[in-house]
């Protein structure tokens, strides 16, 4: 039996949830970034899967969006990691528990 769209979506959902888990429950800032990257990857998987299972003839839209998304994700990762470094230098911690400057 060939895998259906549903299966791919389930995989991507699982990937997304694992990413969310990492982002929510780990205290190290880098884990949060890892979680976000996982979620983005899940999203990309969705794009590709929907593109693949869409009715032919397909426009390459899904693929292109995935490419753009990867590019943006790379940028995000770069900035995020730079932020982690900057924060670390400043506060000497990377634990987000201790970073609550957004508090109103």
């Amino acid at each position: 039996m060939d895998p259906t769209l549903q299966l791919f979506l389930i995989i991507s959902t699982a990937l997304f949830s694992i990413g969310l888990l990492a982002a929510l429950s780990r205290r190290h800032a880098i884990f949060i970034l890892i979680g976000i990257e996982l979620m983005l990857a899940a999203a990309n998987l969705n794009f590709i899967a929907f593109w693949r299972f869409g009715p032919p003839p397909q426009q390459p839209t899904g693929v292109l969006v995935a490419i753009f998304s990867i590019a943006i994700a790379a940028a995000e990762a770069a900035v995020g990691l730079a932020l982690v470094i900057a924060i670390y230098r400043h506060y000497h911690t990377t634990s987000v528990d201790k970073l609550d400057h957004l508090k109103g």
């Binding site: 060939d2 995989i11 969310l20 990492a22 780990r26 590709i48 299972f53 390459p60 994700a73 670390y88």
Partner: protein
């Protein structure tokens, strides 16, 4: 499409992701992340988007993972005692997973097999990028440049203050 390959890829991806999320040592997590990314790239190949898979490997495995590792090294001096898993977050993540799963399984129209398609060549992607998607492409370029500069500034600024 091969269901055995799919199963294999799925297991590798999810195992890698789970490890990346749950392993206590950061460096292990980062390496597991690489595995998960490779798994995702493999599933792209499986879906017939070879180009995206390649990009995924280059960008994520080649660049992002390396960046993460570097960051870990740079911030290594800190000894953080991880106080175990945060159950609140776990519950939320599980709830989201359940909700999404329920929705996907409920939607019967998603259980469709893959249609036959002509392979997506790099040429077609290139043409699309240069015609319909030229403006988004430019924008992404701008964003990348800005991000690059921003990252540099963020990292440099502190040094200047230290002096």
């Amino acid at each position: 499409m091969n269901s055995v390959a799919f199963l294999l890829i799925a297991i590798i991806t999810l195992a890698g992701a789970l490890a990346a999320a749950a392993l206590p040592r950061l460096i292990h997590a980062a390496l597991s992340l690489v595995v998960a990314f490779v798994g995702v790239a493999a599933s792209f190949f499986l879906l017939g988007a070879e180009f995206v898979g390649l990009v995924q490997v280059f960008v994520y495995v080649g660049a992002v993972a390396v960046l993460i590792v570097f960051t870990i090294l740079l911030t290594r001096r800190e000894v953080t005692g991880e106080r175990g898993i945060n159950w609140g977050g776990a519950i939320v993540a599980l709830a989201v997973f359940g909700g999404l799963l329920w929705t996907i399984l409920k939607t019967k129209s998603l259980a469709l097999p893959a249609p036959q398609i002509e392979p997506l060549t790099v040429k077609r992607i290139g043409e699309a990028l240069m015609t319909n998607y030229v403006w988004p492409l430019q924008c992404v370029g701008l964003v990348l440049t800005a991000a690059l500069i921003g990252a540099l500034v963020l990292v440099m600024e502190e040094k200047r203050e230290e002096k």
